[in-house]
Symmetry: C2
Amino acid sequence: MRNFNPESLSLYLVTDRGLAGERDMTDIVREAVAGGVTMVQLREKTCGTREFVELARGLKQFLLPLGIPLIINDRVDVALAIGADGVHIGQSDMPYDIARRLMGEDSIIGLSVECMDDVIGANALDVDYIGVSPVFSTPTKTDTACPFGLEGLHEAVRRSVHPVVGIGGINAGNAAEVAGCGADGIAVVSAIVAASSPFEAARELVRTMSL
Amino acid sequence: MRNFNPESLSLYLVTDRGLAGERDMTDIVREAVAGGVTMVQLREKTCGTREFVELARGLKQFLLPLGIPLIINDRVDVALAIGADGVHIGQSDMPYDIARRLMGEDSIIGLSVECMDDVIGANALDVDYIGVSPVFSTPTKTDTACPFGLEGLHEAVRRSVHPVVGIGGINAGNAAEVAGCGADGIAVVSAIVAASSPFEAARELVRTMSL
């Protein structure tokens, strides 16, 4: 059976190649994990499948011994190829039931929700967590619906039967407020990936949330 | 066991959304099949996974009763999702051994080869066919190596242990010459997808090759 501890959602890093610039994504993830990241989602939208698989395999090698779940964004094939812990799907990715059938009962599947209807819809699914997206407006994702805001996130937490992670525009300046909404964790992209020190950025987020 | 008849390669349609313009891809494939296409590869590089899955499912519904194999380009997850007949992978897609493991022994797996070393390399793999790419230079694919030409295709046919299909710049004007190189078939993109009548275009290609 599934072995997913929602505490893993606490500080959830989502990668973004565009924000990494010339830096190696594996190095960024390594630093971020040393700084306190508790779960990692590899998101690749532009590279070839072979490169995606190789990158994912490399991440798995050092995350597995640490007990940090590795989640693949959208690509069930890449997740199956390397035996990732799970996939994260959005509303226009693989339908949930197919993703579950292909990934198996033991895998973690997270689902992005972009409005309150999605939150309610997800209640009928056996997903392992929902990603409320975006909490704040963000330049990283420009194709999403209007932000939930802290109030919307709070309502999503109240109405969802699943663990909830907030994503979108979260940084050290607002992480405490987000955590205060009752979410199981925060997911960050630029606050860590674009930071000059992903290690310090992760540590600062951990510190802020535990205040 | 695998049930692949290399005669299916005879006139192999590879889709391209960019060349379809405003027209519906399913309509184009339907017309092309009526005109004589013997195998279809759905190639999607820009749309979301859900749309890809829905398009593939729609194509499967009408190709299956006709006994025309449906092959998915690159995306093993999409192929598994709809139970496609197989996948076609390139040199920077999913590595062959992983694709075979995920797809199973019964599925068709085709591999693009871009130079004679790739042809030789493919001889060691249990692929079902190789796609010699490109035969001629083509505006559809700009990231490939220099064209094989008719002589290179002939050599590839001679050196490969697998069925061979030529792809790249093939149209009614040169299809007969390509067929004359001993390949099991031709794969076409723009010659059918961009044609004002995909039905007539396919019919013309069949006619040309049987002369």
